[in-house]
Protein backbone atom coordinates (compact mmCIF):
# COMPACT_ATOMS: atom_id res chain seq x y z
CA UNK A 1 0.00 0.00 0.00
CA UNK A 2 1.55 3.26 -1.11
CA UNK A 3 0.12 6.12 0.91
CA UNK A 4 1.27 4.55 4.15
CA UNK A 5 1.76 7.74 6.15
CA UNK A 6 -1.87 8.62 5.60
CA UNK A 7 -3.06 5.18 6.56
CA UNK A 8 -0.84 5.05 9.63
CA UNK A 9 -2.41 8.32 10.70
CA UNK A 10 -5.86 6.89 10.07
CA UNK A 11 -5.12 3.94 12.33
CA UNK A 12 -4.00 6.17 15.17
CA UNK A 13 -6.96 8.45 14.59
CA UNK A 14 -9.35 5.49 14.71
CA UNK A 15 -7.82 4.35 17.97
CA UNK A 16 -8.28 7.81 19.46
CA UNK A 17 -11.75 8.33 18.05
CA UNK A 18 -13.24 5.05 19.18
CA UNK A 19 -14.04 6.05 22.76
CA UNK A 20 -15.73 9.18 21.45
CA UNK A 21 -17.80 7.32 18.89
CA UNK A 22 -18.76 4.33 20.99
CA UNK A 23 -18.38 5.26 24.64
CA UNK A 24 -20.54 2.40 25.85
CA UNK A 25 -18.42 -0.23 24.17
CA UNK A 26 -15.05 0.40 25.75
CA UNK A 27 -14.71 -3.18 26.98
CA UNK A 28 -15.28 -4.44 23.47
CA UNK A 29 -12.89 -1.83 22.15
CA UNK A 30 -10.20 -2.86 24.62
CA UNK A 31 -10.62 -6.44 23.53
CA UNK A 32 -10.26 -5.43 19.89
CA UNK A 33 -7.11 -3.48 20.67
CA UNK A 34 -5.45 -6.33 22.55
CA UNK A 35 -6.30 -8.86 19.86
CA UNK A 36 -5.08 -6.46 17.17
CA UNK A 37 -1.70 -6.34 18.91
CA UNK A 38 -1.71 -10.13 19.17
CA UNK A 39 -2.61 -10.49 15.50
CA UNK A 40 0.09 -8.00 14.54
CA UNK A 41 2.69 -10.09 16.32
CA UNK A 42 1.52 -13.12 14.35
CA UNK A 43 1.68 -11.11 11.13
CA UNK A 44 5.41 -10.73 11.59
CA UNK A 45 5.75 -14.49 11.54
CA UNK A 46 3.06 -15.55 9.09
CA UNK A 47 2.78 -12.53 6.83
CA UNK A 48 6.39 -11.40 6.64
CA UNK A 49 8.45 -14.51 7.35
CA UNK A 50 6.01 -16.85 5.67
CA UNK A 51 6.04 -19.29 8.60
CA UNK A 52 2.63 -20.73 9.37
CA UNK A 53 2.21 -21.77 12.99
CA UNK A 54 -0.74 -22.80 15.11
CA UNK A 55 0.92 -22.27 18.44
CA UNK A 56 1.15 -18.52 18.83
CA UNK A 57 -1.15 -18.52 21.84
CA UNK A 58 1.73 -20.11 23.77
CA UNK A 59 3.40 -16.70 23.83
CA UNK A 60 0.22 -14.79 24.53
CA UNK A 61 -0.56 -17.10 27.42
CA UNK A 62 3.01 -17.02 28.68
CA UNK A 63 2.88 -13.23 28.78
CA UNK A 64 -0.51 -13.29 30.46
CA UNK A 65 0.50 -15.71 33.18
CA UNK A 66 3.88 -14.07 33.76
CA UNK A 67 2.31 -10.63 34.09
CA UNK A 68 -0.52 -11.97 36.22
CA UNK A 69 1.75 -13.87 38.59
CA UNK A 70 4.09 -10.88 38.76
CA UNK A 71 1.23 -8.58 39.72
CA UNK A 72 -0.12 -11.07 42.22
CA UNK A 73 3.12 -11.90 43.97
CA UNK A 74 5.63 -9.16 43.32
CA UNK A 75 4.49 -5.79 42.09
CA UNK A 76 1.18 -4.73 40.65
CA UNK A 77 2.57 -1.98 38.44
CA UNK A 78 1.13 -2.31 34.94
CA UNK A 79 4.11 -1.16 32.86
CA UNK A 80 6.49 -3.36 34.82
CA UNK A 81 4.09 -6.22 34.20
CA UNK A 82 4.23 -5.57 30.47
CA UNK A 83 7.99 -5.83 30.54
CA UNK A 84 7.85 -9.06 32.54
CA UNK A 85 5.22 -10.53 30.23
CA UNK A 86 7.12 -9.59 27.11
CA UNK A 87 10.39 -10.90 28.49
CA UNK A 88 8.91 -14.22 29.57
CA UNK A 89 7.34 -14.72 26.19
CA UNK A 90 10.57 -13.72 24.45
CA UNK A 91 12.45 -16.32 26.48
CA UNK A 92 9.94 -18.97 25.50
CA UNK A 93 10.30 -17.77 21.92
CA UNK A 94 14.06 -18.17 22.10
CA UNK A 95 13.84 -21.73 23.37
CA UNK A 96 10.99 -22.92 21.20
CA UNK A 97 12.35 -21.08 18.17
CA UNK A 98 15.56 -23.05 18.41
CA UNK A 99 13.52 -26.22 18.09
CA UNK A 100 10.82 -25.09 15.67
CA UNK A 101 12.86 -23.22 13.12
CA UNK A 102 14.78 -26.22 11.94
CA UNK A 103 11.67 -27.32 10.08
CA UNK A 104 9.06 -25.96 7.74
CA UNK A 105 5.53 -26.66 6.63
CA UNK A 106 3.89 -29.62 8.33
CA UNK A 107 6.63 -30.32 10.83
CA UNK A 108 6.66 -26.67 11.86
CA UNK A 109 2.91 -26.78 12.41
CA UNK A 110 3.17 -29.96 14.47
CA UNK A 111 5.95 -28.52 16.61
CA UNK A 112 4.00 -25.32 17.16
CA UNK A 113 0.96 -27.36 18.21
CA UNK A 114 3.14 -29.36 20.56
CA UNK A 115 4.55 -26.16 22.07
CA UNK A 116 1.18 -24.64 22.85
CA UNK A 117 -0.12 -27.93 24.22
CA UNK A 118 2.91 -28.32 26.48
CA UNK A 119 2.54 -24.80 27.85
CA UNK A 120 -1.18 -25.34 28.32
CA UNK A 121 -0.63 -28.60 30.13
CA UNK A 122 2.01 -27.06 32.39
CA UNK A 123 -0.32 -24.17 33.20
CA UNK A 124 -3.10 -26.65 33.84
CA UNK A 125 -1.08 -28.80 36.20
CA UNK A 126 0.81 -26.14 38.18
CA UNK A 127 -2.32 -25.11 40.02
CA UNK A 128 -0.43 -23.59 42.92
CA UNK A 129 1.11 -21.03 40.54
CA UNK A 130 -1.42 -20.57 37.79
CA UNK A 131 -4.74 -21.48 39.30
CA UNK A 132 -4.98 -24.45 36.97
CA UNK A 133 -8.25 -24.94 35.14
CA UNK A 134 -9.92 -22.25 37.21
CA UNK A 135 -7.52 -19.64 35.96
CA UNK A 136 -5.40 -17.08 37.74
CA UNK A 137 -7.62 -15.01 39.97
CA UNK A 138 -7.40 -12.23 42.48
CA UNK A 139 -5.17 -9.94 40.46
CA UNK A 140 -5.49 -6.34 41.48
CA UNK A 141 -3.61 -3.86 39.32
CA UNK A 142 -2.07 -0.65 40.51
CA UNK A 143 -2.42 2.62 38.62
CA UNK A 144 -0.71 3.01 35.24
CA UNK A 145 2.53 4.99 35.58
CA UNK A 146 1.51 5.57 39.19
CA UNK A 147 -1.22 7.99 38.20
CA UNK A 148 -4.06 6.48 36.21
CA UNK A 149 -6.00 3.94 38.23
CA UNK A 150 -8.13 1.45 36.34
CA UNK A 151 -11.72 2.63 36.54
CA UNK A 152 -14.95 0.68 36.40
CA UNK A 153 -15.98 2.28 33.12
CA UNK A 154 -12.94 0.85 31.42
CA UNK A 155 -11.62 4.18 30.19
CA UNK A 156 -8.13 3.77 31.57
CA UNK A 157 -8.02 0.18 30.32
CA UNK A 158 -8.84 1.29 26.81
CA UNK A 159 -6.44 4.22 26.80
CA UNK A 160 -3.65 2.09 28.25
CA UNK A 161 -4.17 -0.70 25.74
CA UNK A 162 -4.52 1.74 22.85
CA UNK A 163 -1.27 3.50 23.70
CA UNK A 164 0.55 0.16 23.95
CA UNK A 165 -0.91 -0.86 20.60
CA UNK A 166 0.11 2.43 18.99
CA UNK A 167 3.66 2.07 20.29
CA UNK A 168 3.71 -1.53 19.20
CA UNK A 169 2.56 -0.51 15.77
CA UNK A 170 5.34 2.06 15.47
CA UNK A 171 7.82 -0.65 16.34
CA UNK A 172 6.23 -3.08 13.90
CA UNK A 173 6.23 -0.50 11.15
CA UNK A 174 9.88 0.39 11.66
CA UNK A 175 10.81 -3.28 11.68
CA UNK A 176 8.91 -4.07 8.52
CA UNK A 177 10.41 -1.10 6.67
CA UNK A 178 13.95 -1.82 7.76
CA UNK A 179 16.50 -3.88 5.87
CA UNK A 180 15.79 -6.64 8.36
CA UNK A 181 12.11 -6.61 7.49
CA UNK A 182 12.83 -6.62 3.78
CA UNK A 183 15.14 -9.57 4.18
CA UNK A 184 12.33 -11.44 5.94
CA UNK A 185 10.17 -10.88 2.88
CA UNK A 186 13.02 -12.19 0.77
CA UNK A 187 13.18 -15.29 2.94
CA UNK A 188 9.45 -15.72 2.56
CA UNK A 189 9.57 -15.38 -1.20
CA UNK A 190 12.59 -17.56 -1.86
CA UNK A 191 14.47 -18.83 1.15
CA UNK A 192 16.92 -20.75 -0.99
CA UNK A 193 17.92 -17.61 -2.86
CA UNK A 194 18.54 -15.73 0.33
CA UNK A 195 21.15 -18.28 1.33
CA UNK A 196 22.75 -17.71 -2.06
CA UNK A 197 23.10 -13.98 -1.44
CA UNK A 198 24.78 -14.53 1.88
CA UNK A 199 21.89 -13.92 4.27
CA UNK A 200 22.19 -15.64 7.66
CA UNK A 201 18.67 -16.97 7.26
CA UNK A 202 18.44 -18.92 10.52
CA UNK A 203 19.62 -15.99 12.62
CA UNK A 204 17.14 -13.64 10.97
CA UNK A 205 14.22 -15.99 11.46
CA UNK A 206 15.10 -16.63 15.06
CA UNK A 207 15.29 -12.90 15.73
CA UNK A 208 11.92 -12.36 14.10
CA UNK A 209 10.49 -15.28 16.06
CA UNK A 210 11.62 -13.85 19.40
CA UNK A 211 10.27 -10.41 18.52
CA UNK A 212 6.98 -11.87 17.46
CA UNK A 213 6.80 -13.84 20.70
CA UNK A 214 7.63 -10.77 22.78
CA UNK A 215 4.87 -8.71 21.15
CA UNK A 216 2.38 -11.53 21.67
CA UNK A 217 3.51 -11.72 25.29
CA UNK A 218 2.90 -8.01 25.76
CA UNK A 219 -0.60 -8.48 24.34
CA UNK A 220 -1.14 -11.32 26.79
CA UNK A 221 0.13 -9.20 29.66
CA UNK A 222 -2.33 -6.45 28.69
CA UNK A 223 -5.12 -8.98 28.69
CA UNK A 224 -4.21 -10.23 32.14
CA UNK A 225 -4.01 -6.71 33.47
CA UNK A 226 -7.24 -5.27 32.12
CA UNK A 227 -9.26 -8.37 32.92
CA UNK A 228 -7.43 -8.94 36.21
CA UNK A 229 -7.78 -12.61 35.40
CA UNK A 230 -6.02 -15.20 33.25
CA UNK A 231 -8.11 -18.02 31.82
CA UNK A 232 -6.51 -21.31 30.87
CA UNK A 233 -7.69 -20.88 27.29
CA UNK A 234 -5.31 -17.95 26.92
CA UNK A 235 -2.95 -20.78 26.00
CA UNK A 236 -4.93 -22.88 23.59
CA UNK A 237 -4.89 -24.21 20.07
CA UNK A 238 -8.34 -22.67 19.63
CA UNK A 239 -7.04 -19.18 20.38
CA UNK A 240 -4.07 -19.72 18.07
CA UNK A 241 -6.49 -20.66 15.32
CA UNK A 242 -8.73 -17.69 16.04
CA UNK A 243 -5.92 -15.17 15.86
CA UNK A 244 -4.77 -16.71 12.57
CA UNK A 245 -8.28 -16.31 11.24
CA UNK A 246 -8.37 -12.68 12.38
CA UNK A 247 -5.10 -12.00 10.63
CA UNK A 248 -6.17 -13.63 7.40
CA UNK A 249 -9.47 -11.82 7.47
CA UNK A 250 -7.55 -8.59 7.53
CA UNK A 251 -4.83 -9.77 5.19
CA UNK A 252 -1.41 -11.15 6.16
CA UNK A 253 1.84 -9.44 5.25
CA UNK A 254 0.01 -6.25 4.38
CA UNK A 255 0.83 -4.06 7.34
CA UNK A 256 -2.69 -3.20 8.37
CA UNK A 257 -4.22 -6.66 8.32
CA UNK A 258 -4.30 -6.99 12.09
CA UNK A 259 -6.05 -3.63 12.45
CA UNK A 260 -8.81 -4.61 10.09
CA UNK A 261 -9.14 -8.26 10.94
CA UNK A 262 -9.25 -8.16 14.73
CA UNK A 263 -11.99 -5.56 15.15
CA UNK A 264 -14.14 -7.04 12.38
CA UNK A 265 -13.81 -10.54 13.81
CA UNK A 266 -14.50 -9.43 17.37
CA UNK A 267 -17.49 -7.45 16.19
CA UNK A 268 -18.84 -10.43 14.24
CA UNK A 269 -18.25 -12.73 17.16
CA UNK A 270 -19.95 -10.42 19.60
CA UNK A 271 -22.92 -9.92 17.35
CA UNK A 272 -23.40 -13.32 15.72
CA UNK A 273 -22.03 -15.83 18.17
CA UNK A 274 -24.20 -14.53 20.92
CA UNK A 275 -27.25 -15.74 19.05
CA UNK A 276 -26.31 -19.25 18.12
CA UNK A 277 -22.90 -20.92 18.52
CA UNK A 278 -23.66 -23.50 15.86
CA UNK A 279 -24.32 -20.95 13.15
CA UNK A 280 -21.20 -19.05 14.21
CA UNK A 281 -19.03 -22.02 13.25
CA UNK A 282 -20.85 -22.35 9.96
CA UNK A 283 -20.43 -18.71 9.04
CA UNK A 284 -16.79 -18.58 9.97
CA UNK A 285 -16.14 -21.79 8.07
CA UNK A 286 -17.85 -20.43 4.97
CA UNK A 287 -16.06 -17.13 5.35
CA UNK A 288 -12.71 -18.91 5.46
CA UNK A 289 -13.51 -20.85 2.32
CA UNK A 290 -14.60 -17.64 0.62
CA UNK A 291 -11.36 -15.92 1.58
CA UNK A 292 -9.24 -18.82 0.38
CA UNK A 293 -10.91 -19.09 -2.99
CA UNK A 294 -11.94 -15.53 -3.74
CA UNK A 295 -9.99 -13.10 -1.61
CA UNK A 296 -6.72 -14.52 -0.31
CA UNK A 297 -5.45 -11.07 0.51
CA UNK A 298 -8.25 -10.46 3.00
CA UNK A 299 -9.94 -7.15 3.64
CA UNK A 300 -6.78 -5.13 3.04
CA UNK A 301 -6.42 -6.45 -0.49
CA UNK A 302 -10.10 -6.07 -1.17
CA UNK A 303 -10.16 -2.48 0.05
CA UNK A 304 -6.99 -1.74 -1.86
CA UNK A 305 -8.52 -3.04 -5.07
CA UNK A 306 -11.66 -1.04 -4.38
CA UNK A 307 -9.64 2.11 -3.83
CA UNK A 308 -7.75 1.57 -7.07
CA UNK A 309 -10.96 1.08 -8.98
CA UNK A 310 -12.47 4.22 -7.49
CA UNK A 311 -9.31 6.14 -8.28
CA UNK A 312 -9.38 4.82 -11.84
CA UNK A 313 -13.01 5.77 -12.46
CA UNK A 314 -12.39 9.24 -11.14
CA UNK A 315 -9.51 9.91 -13.57
Amino acid sequence: MRPTRLLDGLVVAALAAFPLLAPGYLDLGTRMVILALFAMSLDLLVGYCGLVTLGHAAFFGMGAYAAGIFALRAWADPVAGLVVGGAAAALLGLVSGAVLLRSRRLTLIVLSLATVLVVQEVANKMTWLTGGADGLQGISMGPVLGRFAFDLLGRVSYAYAAVVLALGFLLFRALVDSNFGRSLVGIRENESRMHAIGTPVDARLRTAFVMSAALAGIAGALQAQVAEFVALNAVSVELSGEILIMLILGGAGRRYGAFLGAPVYVFMQDYLAREDPTNWYLWIGLMLLAIVFFAPGGLTAWLGALARRLGATRS
Binding site: F180, R193, A203
Partner: protein, 250 residues
Amino acid sequence: MTPVLDVRGLSKRFGSLDVVRDVNLTLEAGARYALIGPNGAGKTTLINLISGRLSPSAGEIRIDGRNVTRMPEAGRVKAGIGRTFQITSLFRRLTIEETLALAVAEHVGAGGRLWPDRASRARIDARVAEIVATLRLGDDLARPIEVLPYGVQRMVEIGTVLALEPRLLLLDEPAAGVPRGDVGVIFEAIAKLPASMAVLLIEHDIDVVFRVAARVAVLVAGDILVEGSPAEVSEHPDVRALYLGEARHG
Protein backbone atom coordinates in the same frame (compact mmCIF):
# COMPACT_ATOMS: atom_id res chain seq x y z
CA MET B 1 49.94 -15.60 -6.07
CA THR B 2 47.20 -17.39 -4.22
CA PRO B 3 44.64 -18.66 -6.66
CA VAL B 4 41.11 -17.38 -6.20
CA LEU B 5 39.73 -20.89 -6.32
CA ASP B 6 41.67 -23.99 -5.37
CA VAL B 7 39.80 -27.27 -5.45
CA ARG B 8 41.62 -30.47 -4.48
CA GLY B 9 40.40 -34.01 -4.57
CA LEU B 10 36.76 -32.99 -4.49
CA SER B 11 34.34 -35.90 -4.51
CA LYS B 12 30.65 -36.35 -3.95
CA ARG B 13 28.92 -39.62 -3.53
CA PHE B 14 25.16 -40.17 -3.36
CA GLY B 15 24.58 -43.62 -1.96
CA SER B 16 26.67 -45.83 -4.18
CA LEU B 17 26.88 -43.33 -7.02
CA ASP B 18 30.01 -41.21 -7.42
CA VAL B 19 28.69 -38.05 -9.01
CA VAL B 20 31.94 -36.12 -8.72
CA ARG B 21 35.26 -37.95 -8.49
CA ASP B 22 38.49 -36.53 -7.23
CA VAL B 23 38.29 -33.24 -9.12
CA ASN B 24 41.18 -30.78 -9.04
CA LEU B 25 40.68 -27.25 -10.28
CA THR B 26 42.57 -23.99 -9.92
CA LEU B 27 41.41 -20.56 -10.99
CA GLU B 28 43.52 -17.40 -10.83
CA ALA B 29 42.14 -13.91 -10.63
CA GLY B 30 40.73 -12.86 -13.98
CA ALA B 31 40.22 -16.45 -15.14
CA ARG B 32 37.54 -17.14 -17.69
CA TYR B 33 37.01 -20.87 -17.33
CA ALA B 34 34.36 -23.02 -18.93
CA LEU B 35 33.16 -26.39 -17.77
CA ILE B 36 31.56 -28.50 -20.45
CA GLY B 37 30.44 -32.07 -20.72
CA PRO B 38 27.46 -34.29 -21.36
CA ASN B 39 24.30 -34.11 -19.28
CA GLY B 40 24.57 -35.86 -15.99
CA ALA B 41 28.33 -35.45 -15.93
CA GLY B 42 28.17 -33.71 -12.60
CA LYS B 43 28.69 -30.10 -13.64
CA THR B 44 25.90 -28.58 -11.59
CA THR B 45 26.83 -30.83 -8.67
CA LEU B 46 30.34 -29.47 -8.85
CA ILE B 47 29.03 -25.92 -8.76
CA ASN B 48 26.79 -26.84 -5.85
CA LEU B 49 29.81 -28.23 -4.01
CA ILE B 50 31.87 -25.13 -4.60
CA SER B 51 29.06 -22.72 -3.69
CA GLY B 52 28.15 -24.65 -0.56
CA ARG B 53 24.78 -25.96 -1.48
CA LEU B 54 26.11 -29.50 -1.09
CA SER B 55 28.81 -30.75 1.22
CA PRO B 56 31.51 -32.93 -0.29
CA SER B 57 32.24 -36.53 0.57
CA ALA B 58 35.93 -35.77 0.28
CA GLY B 59 38.28 -33.02 -0.76
CA GLU B 60 38.99 -29.39 -0.05
CA ILE B 61 37.89 -26.05 -1.40
CA ARG B 62 39.86 -22.86 -0.86
CA ILE B 63 38.95 -19.30 -1.75
CA ASP B 64 41.90 -16.92 -1.77
CA GLY B 65 43.71 -19.49 0.29
CA ARG B 66 40.93 -19.73 2.86
CA ASN B 67 39.57 -23.20 3.52
CA VAL B 68 35.81 -22.98 3.06
CA THR B 69 35.04 -26.68 2.84
CA ARG B 70 33.08 -26.74 6.09
CA MET B 71 31.44 -23.37 5.60
CA PRO B 72 27.72 -23.12 4.91
CA GLU B 73 26.50 -21.41 1.76
CA ALA B 74 25.89 -17.97 3.23
CA GLY B 75 29.36 -17.95 4.75
CA ARG B 76 30.97 -18.74 1.41
CA VAL B 77 29.13 -15.85 -0.15
CA LYS B 78 30.76 -13.60 2.40
CA ALA B 79 34.08 -15.25 1.52
CA GLY B 80 33.61 -14.16 -2.07
CA ILE B 81 31.62 -16.73 -4.02
CA GLY B 82 28.62 -15.79 -6.12
CA ARG B 83 26.55 -18.07 -8.29
CA THR B 84 23.62 -18.02 -10.65
CA PHE B 85 21.15 -20.84 -11.11
CA GLN B 86 20.41 -22.83 -14.21
CA ILE B 87 16.70 -22.34 -13.69
CA THR B 88 16.05 -18.78 -12.63
CA SER B 89 15.43 -18.62 -8.94
CA LEU B 90 14.34 -15.13 -8.00
CA PHE B 91 11.73 -13.42 -5.85
CA ARG B 92 8.77 -13.63 -8.17
CA ARG B 93 6.63 -10.99 -6.56
CA LEU B 94 9.33 -8.44 -5.88
CA THR B 95 10.48 -5.82 -8.37
CA ILE B 96 13.93 -5.67 -9.95
CA GLU B 97 14.96 -2.85 -7.64
CA GLU B 98 13.73 -4.64 -4.50
CA THR B 99 15.58 -7.78 -5.54
CA LEU B 100 18.87 -6.06 -6.26
CA ALA B 101 18.51 -4.00 -3.08
CA LEU B 102 18.33 -7.19 -1.02
CA ALA B 103 21.60 -8.43 -2.47
CA VAL B 104 23.37 -5.08 -2.12
CA ALA B 105 22.17 -4.69 1.46
CA GLU B 106 23.53 -8.11 2.39
CA HIS B 107 26.81 -7.36 0.67
CA VAL B 108 27.43 -4.13 2.54
CA GLY B 109 26.54 -5.85 5.78
CA ALA B 110 23.38 -3.87 6.36
CA GLY B 111 20.98 -6.71 5.64
CA GLY B 112 20.01 -7.25 9.22
CA ARG B 113 19.67 -3.66 10.32
CA LEU B 114 16.56 -3.26 12.44
CA TRP B 115 15.97 0.48 12.08
CA PRO B 116 15.34 2.33 8.82
CA ASP B 117 18.50 4.32 8.06
CA ARG B 118 18.17 6.95 5.38
CA ALA B 119 21.85 7.32 4.58
CA SER B 120 22.37 3.60 4.23
CA ARG B 121 19.26 3.32 2.09
CA ALA B 122 20.50 6.05 -0.21
CA ARG B 123 23.81 4.26 -0.72
CA ILE B 124 22.04 1.00 -1.45
CA ASP B 125 19.69 2.65 -3.91
CA ALA B 126 22.63 4.29 -5.68
CA ARG B 127 24.42 0.99 -6.10
CA VAL B 128 21.20 -0.62 -7.37
CA ALA B 129 20.88 2.16 -9.95
CA GLU B 130 24.45 1.46 -11.06
CA ILE B 131 23.75 -2.20 -11.64
CA VAL B 132 20.50 -1.42 -13.41
CA ALA B 133 22.37 0.92 -15.74
CA THR B 134 25.20 -1.53 -16.39
CA LEU B 135 22.81 -4.31 -17.32
CA ARG B 136 20.38 -1.98 -19.07
CA LEU B 137 17.44 -3.13 -16.97
CA GLY B 138 15.89 0.32 -16.79
CA ASP B 139 12.63 -0.55 -18.47
CA ASP B 140 10.47 -2.50 -16.09
CA LEU B 141 11.57 -1.44 -12.68
CA ALA B 142 8.15 -1.20 -11.05
CA ARG B 143 6.71 -4.50 -12.19
CA PRO B 144 7.03 -7.80 -10.36
CA ILE B 145 9.70 -10.05 -11.81
CA GLU B 146 7.29 -12.84 -12.65
CA VAL B 147 5.69 -10.83 -15.47
CA LEU B 148 9.00 -9.96 -17.13
CA PRO B 149 10.41 -11.83 -20.14
CA TYR B 150 12.72 -14.71 -19.34
CA GLY B 151 15.73 -13.01 -20.89
CA VAL B 152 15.28 -10.07 -18.54
CA GLN B 153 14.91 -12.43 -15.59
CA ARG B 154 18.24 -14.04 -16.48
CA MET B 155 19.82 -10.60 -16.49
CA VAL B 156 18.37 -9.92 -13.07
CA GLU B 157 19.93 -13.21 -11.92
CA ILE B 158 23.27 -11.92 -13.08
CA GLY B 159 22.63 -8.52 -11.56
CA THR B 160 21.82 -10.12 -8.21
CA VAL B 161 25.11 -11.92 -8.13
CA LEU B 162 27.06 -8.87 -9.34
CA ALA B 163 25.68 -6.95 -6.40
CA LEU B 164 27.64 -9.31 -4.20
CA GLU B 165 30.92 -8.25 -5.86
CA PRO B 166 32.24 -11.79 -5.69
CA ARG B 167 35.83 -12.83 -6.21
CA LEU B 168 34.63 -16.01 -7.86
CA LEU B 169 31.57 -16.06 -10.06
CA LEU B 170 29.90 -19.37 -10.86
CA LEU B 171 27.56 -19.16 -13.83
CA ASP B 172 25.34 -22.17 -14.36
CA GLU B 173 24.31 -22.08 -18.03
CA PRO B 174 23.61 -18.35 -18.07
CA ALA B 175 22.06 -18.45 -21.53
CA ALA B 176 19.82 -21.45 -20.90
CA GLY B 177 16.24 -20.87 -21.91
CA VAL B 178 16.96 -17.39 -23.24
CA PRO B 179 15.56 -16.60 -26.69
CA ARG B 180 18.26 -16.35 -29.38
CA GLY B 181 17.84 -12.61 -29.77
CA ASP B 182 18.54 -11.82 -26.11
CA VAL B 183 21.61 -14.00 -25.71
CA GLY B 184 23.91 -11.25 -26.94
CA VAL B 185 23.03 -9.00 -24.01
CA ILE B 186 24.02 -11.67 -21.56
CA PHE B 187 27.42 -12.12 -23.14
CA GLU B 188 27.94 -8.42 -23.22
CA ALA B 189 27.38 -8.45 -19.48
CA ILE B 190 29.88 -11.26 -19.01
CA ALA B 191 32.41 -9.39 -21.14
CA LYS B 192 32.03 -6.34 -18.92
CA LEU B 193 32.77 -8.24 -15.72
CA PRO B 194 35.64 -6.87 -13.64
CA ALA B 195 38.97 -8.19 -14.84
CA SER B 196 39.97 -9.31 -11.35
CA MET B 197 36.95 -11.58 -10.97
CA ALA B 198 37.44 -15.28 -11.63
CA VAL B 199 34.59 -16.73 -13.66
CA LEU B 200 33.65 -20.39 -13.90
CA LEU B 201 30.98 -21.02 -16.47
CA ILE B 202 28.95 -24.13 -17.23
CA GLU B 203 27.94 -24.21 -20.82
CA HIS B 204 26.69 -26.62 -23.46
CA ASP B 205 27.15 -24.47 -26.52
CA ILE B 206 30.68 -24.77 -27.96
CA ASP B 207 30.41 -21.45 -29.78
CA VAL B 208 29.61 -19.69 -26.52
CA VAL B 209 32.58 -21.39 -24.90
CA PHE B 210 34.89 -20.12 -27.62
CA ARG B 211 33.57 -16.60 -27.16
CA VAL B 212 33.95 -16.38 -23.42
CA ALA B 213 36.47 -18.85 -22.07
CA ALA B 214 40.26 -18.75 -21.94
CA ARG B 215 40.45 -22.26 -20.52
CA VAL B 216 38.06 -25.19 -20.77
CA ALA B 217 37.63 -28.39 -18.81
CA VAL B 218 35.57 -31.33 -19.98
CA LEU B 219 33.75 -33.15 -17.22
CA VAL B 220 32.58 -36.68 -17.94
CA ALA B 221 31.01 -38.95 -15.33
CA GLY B 222 32.32 -36.82 -12.50
CA ASP B 223 35.89 -36.77 -13.76
CA ILE B 224 37.82 -34.11 -15.62
CA LEU B 225 38.72 -35.74 -18.89
CA VAL B 226 40.65 -32.98 -20.58
CA GLU B 227 41.73 -29.45 -19.71
CA GLY B 228 43.25 -26.70 -21.82
CA SER B 229 42.56 -23.78 -24.11
CA PRO B 230 39.42 -24.00 -26.19
CA ALA B 231 41.43 -24.81 -29.30
CA GLU B 232 43.41 -27.56 -27.53
CA VAL B 233 40.31 -29.11 -26.09
CA SER B 234 38.35 -29.10 -29.30
CA GLU B 235 41.27 -30.76 -31.09
CA HIS B 236 41.70 -33.44 -28.45
CA PRO B 237 40.87 -36.90 -29.79
CA ASP B 238 38.95 -38.03 -26.70
CA VAL B 239 36.77 -34.93 -26.80
CA ARG B 240 36.13 -35.36 -30.49
CA ALA B 241 35.16 -38.96 -29.90
CA LEU B 242 32.83 -37.89 -27.15
CA TYR B 243 31.04 -35.25 -29.19
CA LEU B 244 31.20 -37.09 -32.48
CA GLY B 245 29.96 -40.17 -30.73
CA GLU B 246 27.09 -38.16 -29.36
CA ALA B 247 26.39 -36.75 -32.82
CA ARG B 248 26.38 -40.22 -34.36
CA HIS B 249 24.07 -41.73 -31.78
CA GLY B 250 22.00 -38.57 -31.54
